[in-house]
Symmetry: C3
Subunit: 440 residues, 3 copies
């Protein structure tokens, strides 16, 4: 039973516009790894399904790390003393080095310069930079604007606070028939950046909404986390839940115009790796499978050697490989409604592979059964075969060893052609569920 | 000892003309999955070696199937009432839907049309169509001829019978030194079609003839069967013999101008798969190795999961992939004498790999033995080595683990260069048979 | 600790000129598989490090072989009776069939011809030919010179001796912290031929010199042998030492202008095979990895099935594949100082991989440790990562299963980026040596 068939068959225009609308709603918020921007983001998601907010106090030890102070910001600017704002946080929250310490001072340009971050190669774009674990202050601005600054004194103001408070993340467990879990994780700590990572956030939100309304085999756990420290904190506090994760996906950068990239889990041949490859092979878009590497997003933590969870990462353009990455050019125009919708569809397809993947037993293993008298084979012979091919693959390899995914891979046919054929053959009494397994 | 060296070294013209002659003799016969056309075909083969004819009565249960009624046909035609025959079985037996129920009626063109089969894309060719397991009647004709039929009444006559009778197949066991068997199987149920499958039938016949006159290690079982129901019937009645099959080949479509295709057994790396790949690699013709798939010819049954026999399928052009497939264009001109002869040679080479494949032990495993003083190495050093290379490969890998086929694969040298070198080294006392195995 | 870092970082000009100088010193000597030319060569090497000379008497049985008579030569020529020398050993020692029996006779050209060896395709070059194991005499000369010989009588003289004596080879064991050994082997039996094999000899000499002055983990055994009979003799007399060889390299043809070729050991995936592939991948020169084959140089004996030692062969151009091979064109101009130096550098790199390859344990296996507070991670986030990537690879895969070489292979990073990162992480207390192993 395809749990998410509706989502897979959703109109791209319809779904795309809803997804993009949510991204647009959240785009202006100044998020960071903690603070009120993050809380406001989780609150918006909470309107769509029962997301829980978890707050961990500053100073809590999580493995090798310590939950840092909570950061909040109200305003920031650079101006000539008494003049108008030249660089203004209210116009674009990327202007502030994210997690910047507070400052209010007047200082000559030569002293200001070490606190300014620009992109010489993209002189009109504002970079996104952070300093979470070293106390610094700074501004990000376009290179052209920096070049236009004349010598003289500047008033700089960052009205932020770094105080004992909380680290916040969102969590939602949607129980299924089994306590085995599928994890969907995305980071939610980036300010006004669309592809990285509002795209992942909105797709995850729609998946959770759809699953909340349906019955499913697996339990689904959704995590909306500040990057790195968020997943580390969750893993430190939830070792038992981590042990129930059978398949997992980190979603990021899935709204741009590029083709898909799926980065394998550390295990390299986990069912999630094979399900993703299977769905991408037949999705009608260009798609590339990347080997695991220990850098990227929160899969770094899920795939650390102590956990080694089967968690891969689905992207379109790969972080750091597209020029708009971590700049003001990663804006709402950079993510396309239909691309978001196609990414949602692929995610739903991958989850449905897991929901449906199992082993069957051919009850007539000696020679082929006579499909013709069951109306499962064309009656006029001599022509080349068609839809019965999926049935023949299933019968030949349903020996209790091969799962539907194995058979899809070996036959080159899409998973759901095989799965639909399995339904027919079950109804005809030619296949039986593999007695040994309830569902893998 | 190369059992079939003579066949491998036969003149292509000589062998080709004999093979084509037999195909031409059998071409006009109207064969089906049962009946007198099939019997006549087996009788012609019987003149060449001691083939047994097996008759299984209608209604016999064979696994999931039941042996169907016997079909015979005497005449068939379409004509305007009182007019000359427009479509005439006597001119071409493809005109009748094979296994067609009898009919004699006069009916308007509009009622006749659903019983007519044509090839719109190849408007001059007559298709070959069958209806074995659903009672139907019909005619096959060229699309152009169908278009020329004017409205009005037509007399249709199919003077056929479908009655309790027998399913007939041919079987021949040529005992060898071992009771282990090599299976050669081909289907013999197609009417006037040359490549599919008179080509397989004639090559199998010549192989059987040659083996009947020679001593060989393996026992050889030849099966000339109606497709699908024939192999199912044989397997249902001969489970013990099936269990003795060590290697097997289905022969089909091996007379056309195309290069070779070998479809692997379900096991995928059986000795037959490796022997076929080995011989084809060095046969001097283009050749492609195909993965197993559960559709095609009788390997579908031999490779059903309950049997999973190491049986592959040797073809030139692949069924369904050449336009002449299952049409009147698959005629005697479509199969070429020298292509048949080259196919025979390749089959003989594959069988001889099995006959000769074994493991030896290098009796001087520490460093190379001094080949020079045994006249097995060139005496003038400094030049690049030649024929001694096969000897060096054999000595290095004859550790009891590697068979001659393993060594041929690893060295890239043809199997018989390795096998001939083994004979020399055995005579020189440098190799010994692997004591553990009689012959694998 | 990179034992041979100095060598790897040596100036190519400086090292190259030293290497070429030694080759030039040894080039004129008439070597063979025994005799005073071989002794003189070993004596020159002995001036550079403590090489031992081993003498094995004629007639000694070594496995399937017998140590042959010792060959020495003083003079050889062809001339018209009373005329000047036309072919003169004093001008080029290749003119004599190496290991030629003595002769002094006058005979007509027609009788002389079967004793003359030329290269019709390279009419100006003198071939190098040998007859070790069949008593013959002969001369090698350019094809053009042979064509210029007019009919008539010729005086031929080869003032050589084949007498009971000794087989000589050079051996040096440089003890390390472990009794496990790395073998470096080269043949030293070729007369005036530069690439094959003065190139291997001079590189091996410099490696031995460098290792003699340093502390190292492995014990190193250097063998300077007459080809084939030398390695067979050594193996026959040193079975225990052979059993201590963990990694080994045969060095040959490594001075010419071509890119590298590394021929794998018979094991095919031994650490030496992987270390060589690793260093060559990152050496900045074209390099190709060749599968093992049982012909070539002394790796034939080390990799005979009874020993099956992990010994590969490093070459630039492959023997028999370059036209100058075994001809007078393989002279001192054919080997280039900088190519010799680059080969030395690659050898040193391979040995240092073995010296440094081991497994570590990540002491923080659950999630990443916080590299930032240890100054092991850039402090400004948002930009793409750089040098911390090697650290992340190490942490993720230091699970006790993966060696540094495994991690280098999987990451695609050069071995020493990984090894240097290991040193940093050890110092930071993030990694620990794998308790189970001292050094593999």
């Amino acid at each position: 039973m395809r749990v998410l068939r509706e989502i897979e068959e959703l109109s791209l225009q319809e779904a795309g516009s809803q997804l993009h609308l949510l991204a647009a709603e959240l785009y202006p918020v100044c998020r960071s790894i903690s603070g009120d921007g993050l809380r406001a983001t989780l609150a918006a998601i909470q309107e769509r399904f029962p997301l829980q907010t978890v707050e961990i106090p500053t100073g809590t030890a999580v493995f090798d790390w310590i939950v840092p102070k909570e950061w909040n910001i109200r305003d920031a600017y650079i101006r000539r003393p008494g003049g108008p704002r030249l660089v203004d946080f209210q116009a674009c929250n990327l202007h502030v080095l994210n997690y910047s310490a507070p400052v209010h001072a007047t200082l000559p340009l030569s002293d200001l310069r070490p606190h300014l971050f620009t992109l010489p190669d993209r002189p009109d774009w504002i970079p996104y930079r952070t300093s979470y674990y070293e106390r610094k202050w700074g501004f990000c601005l376009s290179h052209n604007q920096m070049l236009s600054l004349e010598d003289g004194d500047y008033e700089v103001c960052i009205d932020s606070s770094l105080e004992d408070g909380w680290l916040t993340y969102g969590e939602c467990l949607l129980p299924g028939l089994s306590t085995d879990e599928i994890l969907i994780s995305c980071h939610v700590c980036h300010p006004s950046l669309a592809n990285d990572n509002l795209s992942g956030l909105v797709v995850a939100t729609f998946l959770a909404q759809a699953l909340a309304e349906r019955e499913h085999h697996y339990s689904y756990r959704f995590l909306f986390l500040p990057g790195t420290i968020g997943s580390i904190t969750w893993l430190a506090h939830n070792p038992k839940a981590a042990g129930r994760i059978r398949h997992g996906l980190v979603l990021t950068c899935i709204g741009d115009a590029g083709g898909f990239h799926y980065k394998k889990s550390r295990q390299g041949n986990a069912e999630i790796d094979r399900a993703a490859a299977q769905v991408l092979r037949h999705c009608g878009e260009p798609a590339e499978i990347l080997e695991f590497s220990p850098y990227g997003y929160d899969e770094r933590q899920y795939c650390s050697p102590g956990f080694n969870l089967p968690v891969g990462c689905l992207m379109r353009s790969v972080w750091g490989k597209f020029p708009e990455y971590h700049t003001s050019a990663d804006n709402l125009d950079f993510i396309l409604p239909e691309q978001l919708a196609r990414s949602l569809r692929v995610c739903a397809g991958i989850l449905d592979v897991h929901e449906n993947n199992r082993r069957y037993i051919n009850l007539n293993p000696f020679c082929e059964p006579q499909l013709g008298r069951r109306n499962l084979y064309r009656s006029i012979g001599g022509d080349t075969p068609g839809i019965e091919i999926a049935r023949l693959w299933l019968l030949n390899f349903s020996d209790g060893e091969h799962s539907l995914l194995d058979i899809a891979e070996r036959s080159g046919l899409p998973f759901f052609e095989i799965a639909d054929a399995a339904t027919q053959l079950l109804e005809s009494g030619l296949l039986a569920p593999n007695g040994q397994e309830v569902l893998k």
